[in-house]
């Protein structure tokens, strides 16, 4: 080995090298010692909870125990409120103690005590852990396969099951059959295997990935979720279905209960896969506001990230032999991810997702649509709103961009969208007109909404020669303002002013730089022109830079009659026909809104 001063050093002997490369050994805690620590923690949690309740009661007695008669205090609304609040925090402390004791069940050396086979058997049979039961052949065929392949290889899934079994809140909310179904779904999850599958798809070495997947998976009872939401109302939504925070996956158990009370185990598994993908994409070495950073947040619409997360959940589960269906709502997320997958290929998609970049996707898009086309697709669309905006319509815009570029490049857009149906994807995607938009629709049988539809349609002719087209997004539920609440005159005027600002900025840009009208053929000039336009839009109070004027409309009111008839439909053909009518209605509304904006903008110009 050459040193800087030219002295040649003898390389270390193999044994020495091994010693040098091996990380220093940490003192290990004996399993028994960990068990004792776990038992002590459980006792501590219990006694702290009891002390908390006793203290609250005693304090209330002390404060209200003076010479004012009890009846008088009981009648006082302030005192009653305080008492209610004390009872509420006491009940929340009980939920917390139960929940944390449940999580302790995932610790300890039980694998040693009961043995791997016993635990695996217990995972299958969902019964008490004993060797006799584990030796009995389970009757759920597919799950036996997992055991033979080495389950429980995923200690995170095992811990999730043990935590679930010890969770009193879950036991209080769900029947034994439902709990067993949850266990069955968790037993099917194998995180390390999923990680290897994704790395394989991406052409990456799983061992070299920055992440090791999720650390914890938890199914939460509604009671516990309420406690969490009260503690952290900004970040915890008690109605959420699932969330991943710093490698920990939290699932609202009640979100997986069908109308008939049955648990859709496939959906639980699929959701764990989706959330686990978020953990793979996040960077543990980069924390912002207490959360691991997701690199795509800075460069792509959030909805596109969600869509790709969903597509890779499907592709990864396929590799694991699990047939799943997309669980996303119609609105653009999944459509954008699916279309990107089709155009750039799953390998590039997975590579960039796992490494946090966009290079391979950009290169693949560039090959098909040119650099400018790739840039138009891989960008954020909504910086703020004209009307309210959100992740799903923004991703819908990415889907429109892909369709528009594909159309320009002479690709068969109908065939591209048709692959979704051919692959068994529930989302139905159709191009609008001559590729100026996209409409999505989807039936969601286990959900009260029944079916959803969303469309994004662009104006054929912009308001002024160089202004971007107006892109109208219509969603059958969720985001956007109701048409009845939109002030079309003001909106048209605002867009008209934006278009005029763009024309003025363009003329000034050409004059100041001594350019010709065809300056956009030069990529450098085009780039600085784009920056000048963004600045002009901001100056004109438009705020929204970028290529399109985006308007988002909520069509829940208009869709109601169709939803009502969907609820009464009995055959698949009937339901399909209604879903299609919802899609057609979304496009009709988009065109209607465009016409209203167009005439308002025209009036503003006069």
């Amino acid at each position: 080995m050459d040193t800087p001063d030219g002295i040649i050093e003898t390389p270390p002997a193999p044994q020495e090298r091994e010693r040098a490369e091996r990380p220093p050994e940490r003192p290990e805690t004996a399993p028994e010692a960990l068990d004792e620590a776990v038992d002590k923690a459980a006792d501590d949690f219990e006694s702290e909870g009891a002390a908390f309740e006793a203290f609250g009661r005693a304090e209330f007695e002390r404060v209200t125990g003076g010479d004012i008669p009890k009846e008088e205090l009981d009648a006082d609304p302030q005192v009653r409120d305080a008492k209610r609040e004390l009872e509420d925090v006491a009940s929340q402390s009980r939920v917390l103690v139960d929940s944390f004791k449940g999580r302790l069940a995932g610790f300890g050396s039980r694998l040693k005590r009961w043995g791997r086979a016993a635990l695996a058997g217990a995972v299958i049979s969902s019964s008490a852990m004993n060797v006799a039961e584990a030796a009995t052949p389970p009757d759920h065929g597919s799950k036996l396969e997992h055991v033979e392949k080495g389950k429980p290889g995923d200690s995170v899934a095992v811990r999730a099951i043990e935590t679930l079994r010890a969770d009193k809140g879950m036991a209080a909310q769900f029947t034994p059959e439902q709990l067993q179904a949850f266990e069955g779904a968790l037993a099917r999850w194998d995180g390390p295997k999923m990680e290897r599958a994704l790395a394989d798809i991406a052409g990456l070495d799983a061992a070299a990935l920055a992440k090791e997947g999720v650390k914890e998976i938890r199914l939460l009872s509604d009671a516990e979720l309420r406690v969490m939401a009260e503690r952290d109302p900004k970040n915890v939504d008690p109605k959420m279905k699932a969330v991943t925070s710093n490698d920990r996956v939290l699932l609202r158990a009640s979100a997986f209960v069908g109308r008939d009370g049955a648990i859709d185990g496939g959906e639980v598994l699929h959701t764990v896969a989706h959330e686990s993908n978020h953990a793979e994409h996040s960077r543990s070495d980069s924390i912002k506001h207490g959360e691991q950073v997701r690199p795509w947040d800075a460069v792509l619409p959030h909805g596109v990230q969600e869509g790709v997360t969903e597509v890779l959940a499907l592709r990864g589960l396929e590799r694991l032999g699990e047939k799943s269906k997309d669980q996303s709502y119609a609105g653009g997320n999944f459509a954008a991810g699916f279309l990107l997958d089709k155009v750039v290929g799953t390998r590039a998609l997975a590579h960039d997702y796992l490494t946090g970049g966009t290079d391979q996707m950009r290169a693949a898009l560039g090959e098909k649509f040119g650099r400018a086309g790739a840039d138009r697709i891989l960008r954020k669309h909504f910086y703020s709103g004209m009307g309210s905006t959100g992740a799903e319509p923004e991703a819908l815009s990415t889907a429109v961009d892909i369709i528009r570029e594909a159309k320009r490049a002479g690709m068969d857009v109908g065939a591209l969208l048709g692959t979704a149906a051919a692959e068994g994807v529930v989302e139905r995607m159709q191009a609008v007109g001559d590729g100026e938009g996209v409409v999505l629709s989807k039936e969601i049988p286990n959900d009260a909404v029944g079916a959803v539809a969303s469309a994004a349609v662009e104006d054929r002719v912009p308001l002024t020669p160089h202004a971007p087209p107006v892109r109208v997004h219509v969603l059958s539920q969720g985001y956007g303002a109701r048409q009845a609440d939109v002030d079309f005159a003001a909106l048209g005027k605002k867009i008209r002013e934006g278009a005029s600002a763009i024309e003025a900025a363009r003329a000034e840009f050409i004059r100041a730089n001594g350019l010709d009208e065809d300056f956009e053929d030069d990529p450098v000039a085009a780039e600085s022109y784009a920056a000048a336009i963004d600045a002009a839009l901001v100056k004109a109070g438009q705020i929204t830079p970028g290529e399109t004027f985006n308007v988002v409309v909520n069509a829940a009111d208009e869709m109601r009659p169709l939803r009502d008839s969907l609820a009464k439909a009995t055959t698949r053909a009937e339901r399909d026909a209604i879903r299609q009518r919802m899609a057609d209605e979304a496009v009709r509304i988009a065109r209607d809104v465009q016409a209203k904006i167009g005439s308002a903008a025209g009036a503003a110009a006069r």
């Binding site: 399993p31 609250g56 304090e59 404060v63 609040e85 050396s109 039980r110 694998l111 040693k112 095992v158």
Partner: protein, 62 residues
């Protein structure tokens, strides 16, 4: 966690400490709410007392 002797534990002592810290933080939040509820009750009782004190001179003048 797989130890060198081949036995397996499903959590590390560090993770146990993290869980204990998390529990402590959650209880701290509840304690804060408990304290404010007690303060609310105390305030209401004080109001009652001062109402009584204000009433007393009238009662005496009768």
């Amino acid at each position: 966690m797989t130890r060198h002797d081949g036995t397996e534990t499903k959590g590390t002592p560090e993770e146990l400490e993290e869980l204990k810290d998390e529990f402590a933080a959650a209880m701290r939040d509840l304690r804060r709410r408990q304290r404010s509820a007690v303060e609310k009750a105390l305030k209401a009782v004080d109001m009652k007392k001062s109402e009584k004190i204000r009433k007393r001179p009238d009662e005496i003048s009768k």
